[in-house]
């Protein structure tokens, strides 16, 4: 029974097919500015940004067990960082997006140190308090319009790219690059040692601790990574909107409720879940948006129904039947047949 007779594989036939298909879809998305109209391109950009937010929230809640209802804190922080850095710092907007990510990560550290003192559901509401603090502070910054907000100056907007079409295409490509980056980071984290620790924590925190995993540090690292990337996504969201106000930037409905619904409907704790969820969410939105508030009532009911009847979401239902996995994350021990 020597160890060399066994090896560990992470990929499967399904994951290799999915990777190929994924590359084809990615190529089509890269070329989108050449085949999609302006409104379709905007919608695609929005979908990609929501995919990023949902995947990040899923990493936080589904893997690290940090159920936050306050990620709007980082979305808003990123947005305000973009506006502050471009208007007062004179930074190029694209550089400012990266800087917003760095700021998000730096801010996430003291925030984590404080709210990690709260457990479980109280942690969740603690994150919301944090977001409220950020919103109220933003409303006090009169240089950025105080409570009523401000628009991105024309000079800054023009520095993104020349002409409206080029600008919209750049903004879309940035959203696409962000979504790819987010998925790549999540994939890399989950395949690493840290990811293995994370999966262990997700499955049983007590058992994971007894195996010597430093739970606090693992969670802290994830919280900071997610905070940084969420702030960068937030910067991109408001680079697309070109206007920011405290209520829009720190909206619990837009940046947390919808994101949670996406993850829950798609399947929490899987990388595939948010992708499925975001597709379902936008299909529902595009068909039901005319109903206004009724649409949100339907969405809330749908999410409650999924949580009660199929707590693992749509992707969980697929996996219960076929055990398929599109991202090569699970480790399997395979016996070597030849020697």
């Amino acid at each position: 029974m020597s160890a060399s007779r066994y090896r560990i594989v992470q990929s499967s036939a399904a994951s290799r097919v999915a990777a190929t298909l994924g590359l084809i879809v990615l190529a089509a998305l890269v070329l989108a500015p050449y085949w999609a109209g302006r409104s379709d391109l905007r919608l695609l950009g929005e979908i990609l940004l929501y995919l990023s937010l949902a995947s990040l929230w899923n990493l936080l809640a589904g893997y690290a067990g940090l159920v936050s209802v306050g990620q709007q804190a980082f979305v808003g922080l990123g947005g305000y960082a973009l506006f502050g850095l471009t208007i007062f710092g004179g930074l190029n907007p694209i550089v400012a997006v990266l800087a917003a990510g760095v700021i998000g990560g730096l801010v996430a550290m003291p925030v984590a140190a404080l709210i990690f003192r709260l457990r479980g559901a109280y942690f969740a509401i603690g994150t919301w308090v944090m977001a409220e603090v950020f919103r109220l502070v933003a409303a006090q910054v009169s240089a950025l319009g105080g409570g009523s907000g401000t628009s991105l100056p024309t000079a800054v907007v023009q520095s993104i790219a020349d002409g409206r079409d080029a600008r919209e295409a750049t903004s879309y490509w940035l959203a696409l690059a962000m979504a790819v980056l987010v998925l790549a980071v999540i994939y890399a984290v989950l395949r690493s040692r840290k990811g293995l620790a994370l999966t262990a924590i997700r499955d049983n925190e007590l058992a994971a601790r007894s195996l010597g995993i430093d739970i606090w540090r693992t969670k802290f690292t994830i919280y900071v990574i997610v905070g940084a990337l969420t702030a960068a996504v937030g910067a991109l969201i408001f680079l697309q909107k070109l206007r920011i106000s405290p209520d829009a930037a720190f909206s619990v409905n837009d940046w947390t409720a919808f994101v949670i619904f996406i993850v829950v409907i798609g399947g929490i704790g899987t990388v595939e879940g948010p992708i499925i969820g975001v597709i379902v969410f936008f299909l529902l939105r595009e068909t039901l948006a005319d109903l206004g508030t009724t649409y949100l009532i339907i969405l809330g009911t749908f999410a409650i129904g999924v949580m009660l009847l199929a707590p693992k979401g749509l992707w969980g239902m697929v996996r219960a039947r076929s055990d398929i996995q599109l991202f090569a994350l699970r480790r399997k021990v395979v016996a070597k047949l030849k020697d």
Binding site: R119, G120, A121, W128, V264, G300, M307
Partner: protein, 287 residues
């Protein structure tokens, strides 16, 4: 004198926050459930009060006779119908389901009552005041504060001196054994939620008399209640009252310094206390 006045008014406002928090504290104590829709249920109670006063021409305080039983009934049905299915080791399910409820309630209220701010008219009660020393106490804030003290004393008595309270404490300590002793867990939880929402009914009606309200303000009320619970210490009802008072005073003092800092001062007081005393001032149970 302005400062003393701010502190006294803040204390009285703390009574309202304690009313927001008492229901939250009760259901957490009994079933470890944190209800994200709690604030929206407070707003729902305010709208119920508004509808009852409008339809029957009653004084807002008299509307409590209908609002309290109605909220209790909603609580029992909500718990037995939906929330009991989410109770278990998994924290995520109750959190996400109550988040969904919150969105449904908010948009349901928006559909029926529109986004226009509403307010209940309590007539002379709103402006009546008693001069005490150099400051003037509004009758309404004093009434709110005394109600909060009464509600918390009542809950405390119920918890430690009645059969229902014993059932609550038993289920809180160990659900499985309470079940073996012949308690119906689902029913006990239903009653706990009914009681919690009865208190929420009182909080909602007072909220609606004190300030104008609209469907979107639920989240803010949830946060105030939550802060009061954490500051006071989990599972300690008198602590919750003290938490409400600390929050109210911080806000009043903040507003005294700069009107824009009112809410911010309350949140910062909460965060400072969290940093210094993570378990709250007088904790009775672990989170």
């Amino acid at each position: 004198m302005d400062w003393l006045n701010a502190i006294v008014q803040g204390c009285l406002l703390g009574g309202l926050y304690a009313l927001f928090a008492a229901g939250l504290s009760l259901i957490f104590g009994v079933m470890r459930l944190v209800n994200i829709a709690h604030g929206d249920l407070i707003v729902l109670a305010a709208y119920l009060g508004l509808t009852v006063t409008g339809a029957l021409g009653l004084h807002p305080l008299m509307s409590l006779l209908i609002v309290i039983p109605a909220m209790a009934l909603i609580g029992y049905v909500l718990q037995r119908g939906i929330l009991n299915r989410t109770i278990g080791d998994d924290l995520l399910a109750p959190l996400l389901v109550t988040f969904g409820l919150s969105v449904i309630l908010q948009n349901g209220l928006l559909e029926v009552f529109s986004a226009d701010p509403q307010k209940m008219n309590a007539g002379a009660l709103e402006t009546a005041s008693i001069p005490v020393g150099g400051i003037t106490l509004g009758v309404l804030p004093v009434l709110m504060f005394l109600t909060a003290v009464g509600v918390i004393a009542g809950l405390q008595w119920m918890f430690y001196h009645t059969a229902l309270g014993r059932a609550f404490r038993a289920t809180s300590d160990n659900q499985a054994i309470a079940q073996l002793m012949g308690l119906n867990r689902a029913h006990v939880f239903g009653l706990a939620m009914a009681l919690a929402l009865a208190v929420t009914g009182i909080a909602g009606v007072f909220l609606g008399i004190r300030t104008s309200f609209d469907p979107s303000i639920g989240g803010g009320r949830l946060i105030f209640g939550f802060e009061a619970v954490i500051i006071g210490g989990l599972g300690n009802l008198w602590g919750t009252l003290l938490g409400g008072i600390i929050l109210g005073v911080s806000q009043a003092v903040g507003a005294q310094i700069n009107p824009g800092w009112q809410l911010l001062a309350g949140h910062i007081a909460f965060l400072v206390l969290l940093a210094v005393r993570p378990k709250g001032l007088f904790p009775r149970m672990d989170g």
